[in-house]
């Protein structure tokens, strides 16, 4: 009964490769997010989608491309992986109960990406 799930949990790959991380939520939420947590535990938002539309796009390299085939899924594709991409990537979702922000976000367990 996992609310927000991510696959894979661990991903080890070589520099220059292309990889994808998948996220699914079964909460019926309209909005999904990707966050990056670096080695110092600093957590920063990358993207958010609302009903398959891109809402937030932080200053993330073009090598990162989110894709939302439907509102229950938000996948993250990364091209030409670099050493600095090593991090834990968290997916999250929320439902807009309050107009104007502040809605609770539910996080997945994370995907630990290691680029060698």
């Amino acid at each position: 009964d996992t609310a927000v799930s991510q696959t894979p949990k661990y991903l080890v790959t070589q520099m220059g490769n292309d990889k994808s991380i998948k996220c699914e939520q079964n909460l019926g939420h309209d909005t999904m997010y990707w966050y990056k947590q670096d080695s110092k535990k600093f957590l920063k938002i990358m993207f958010s989608y609302n009903n398959k539309e891109l809402i937030i796009n932080e200053t993330v390299p073009n090598r990162f491309s989110p894709k939302s085939p439907d509102k229950a899924h938000l996948n993250l594709h990364i091209n030409s992986l670099e050493l600095g991409d090593s991090a834990v990537y968290f997916c999250a979702s929320s439902q807009e109960e309050l107009a104007g922000g502040g809605n609770e976000q539910f996080f997945g367990p994370g995907t630990r990406l290691t680029v060698l």
């Binding site: 927000v4 600093f42 367990p109 994370g110």
Partner: protein
């Protein structure tokens, strides 16, 4: 610029002791304020949030936080810590027109028996 500061990187307390984790924010207006907890190998779980009204907010697992506008602070407290509270705690602010969250750098809590 919007920012969140958690001055304590690492805190160690004995089980049963009281706890206070500090959080200061920088924002033009009163934002939404959150505390999340991250257990090892897990995602983040919301402990509590402040939107408006009563400045003392009650959360899950016996936690509470107090919003002090004059100090731009939102400190998290618990009167008696349990060993299972050992985790990483994140304070976050959210501007009032978006669901974007800005996180602090976290405070790692260790609990000794």
């Amino acid at each position: 610029a919007q920012s969140v500061t958690q001055p304590d990187i690492h805190i160690t307390v004995s089980e049963g002791a009281s706890l206070e984790l500090r959080c200061n924010y920088s924002y033009g207006a009163t934002p939404y304020l959150f505390w999340y907890v991250q257990s090892p190998g897990q995602g983040l779980q919301l402990l509590l949030k402040y939107f408006s009204g009563d400045t003392l907010v009650q959360g899950i697992k016996g936690f509470e936080a107090e919003f002090k506008r004059s100090q731009s602070s939102f400190n998290l407290r618990k009167p008696s810590v349990h060993w299972s509270d050992a985790a990483e705690y994140f304070c976050a602010v959210g501007p009032r027109n978006t669901d974007k969250l800005i996180f602090g750098t976290g405070t790692r809590l260790q609990v000794f028996p």
